[in-house]
Subunit: 208 residues, 2 copies
């Protein structure tokens, strides 16, 4: 089964490789459109858009899985995406330090089925009604993360490493910031960017 | 501050490097002696022995920290160490699958202080009473881990990778086995083998 990961994140790539799957990476440039402000709905919506954006890039379909994912941090109902700059990163870390917050990753899996019907002169594989035969499955995982207290000096020093700048909520749990993580409740890899335990359980019937 | 990690585990080495500490590795060959059957007492005892074993190897002391650690898995009050062989690994995984268990890591930090007193002809640095000035700090972290159900085929396939054979409880949460991890409560790195969040918070007053 061919698997396509619709994400440019090197962390998601590492996680999918970690659980022993072979896959290709193909990233769409869809414009992200969010209609909700509820964290789990936001990440589910964005994961759908990322996965379906990849589908449009595929010229010749075979039976395959496309995986799209999006991760955000939520604290007191406020959604924290990637920081705009170092000052924004510091403001996020000041908010997160010494307390709990939630990390949400939405995942969409598209199972694109090979049809027996081929249109002459067009190698796209389409269903009998001329459309792709696609099953869509979307879910999310939420993980609670508890930060140790951080001093202003610790926040500044961490932001100066530039590790926070490309990450939702301005931290990477899998990097230096592990110094300041007291504990979590839920899936650790969900915080890194892809809940590979849940994902594997959800797709394994297609892999067999 | 010189830091010495008294562990041969490549995973502990990676974790300590991840939080940005520079250190050397020095492993003692002390015979491990356990007097308790209570999981947290077992790992604390073994961490003390590992750290103090390293101390004996040091010829010329300067001010330094020695870190010893030991990790075990406990399920229904039964302690699971490293499996003896593939069959033992399978038996452990059959026990762990589809439910929760606990992982305990005990950590001992020895702060070996440079004394102003030097014995002529002996470059060892000793306290005024002729003994090393050592502060010992021991603690443990416990993390709950929940496994997804695993079939006999999944257990056999995982053991065949040989990943479980050198690990307490016959699994490595940071490897392929992430497929089967539903979630945790506590510190993820504690399950990998060293609770670097807690450790950093406990030693940072010595690092400044």
């Amino acid at each position: 089964m061919k698997i396509i990961l619709g994400s440019a994140s090197p962390r998601r790539r590492e996680l999918l490789a970690q659980i022993g799957l072979e896959f290709e990476v193909l990233v769409s440039n869809v414009e992200e459109q969010v209609t909700s402000t509820v964290p789990y709905e936001v990440v589910e919506e964005l994961s759908v858009q990322k996965a379906e954006g990849v589908l449009e890039l595929l010229q010749k379909q075979e039976t395959l899985l496309v995986i799209g994912a999006d991760t955000i941090v939520a604290c007191d109902g406020q959604i924290l995406g990637k920081p705009k700059d170092a000052e924004d990163a510091k403001a996020m870390l000041r908010k997160l330090q010494g307390r709990a917050h939630e990390v949400y990753t939405g995942v969409t899996v598209l199972y694109v089925e090979k049809s027996s019907v081929e249109i002459p002169g067009d190698k796209s594989i389409l269903g009998e009604d001329g459309t792709l035969k696609v099953q869509r499955h979307t879910f999310h995982e939420a993980t609670k993360v508890v930060f140790c207290p951080m001093s202003e000096e610790e926040i500044s020093a961490y932001v100066a490493t530039s590790d926070p700048l490309d990450k939702a909520g301005a931290y990477g749990i899998q990097g230096l910031c592990a110094r300041y993580i007291q504990g979590i409740e839920g899936d650790y890899n969900n915080v890194v960017g892809l809940p590979v335990g849940r994902l594997y359980q959800e797709i394994k019937h297609w892999l067999e």
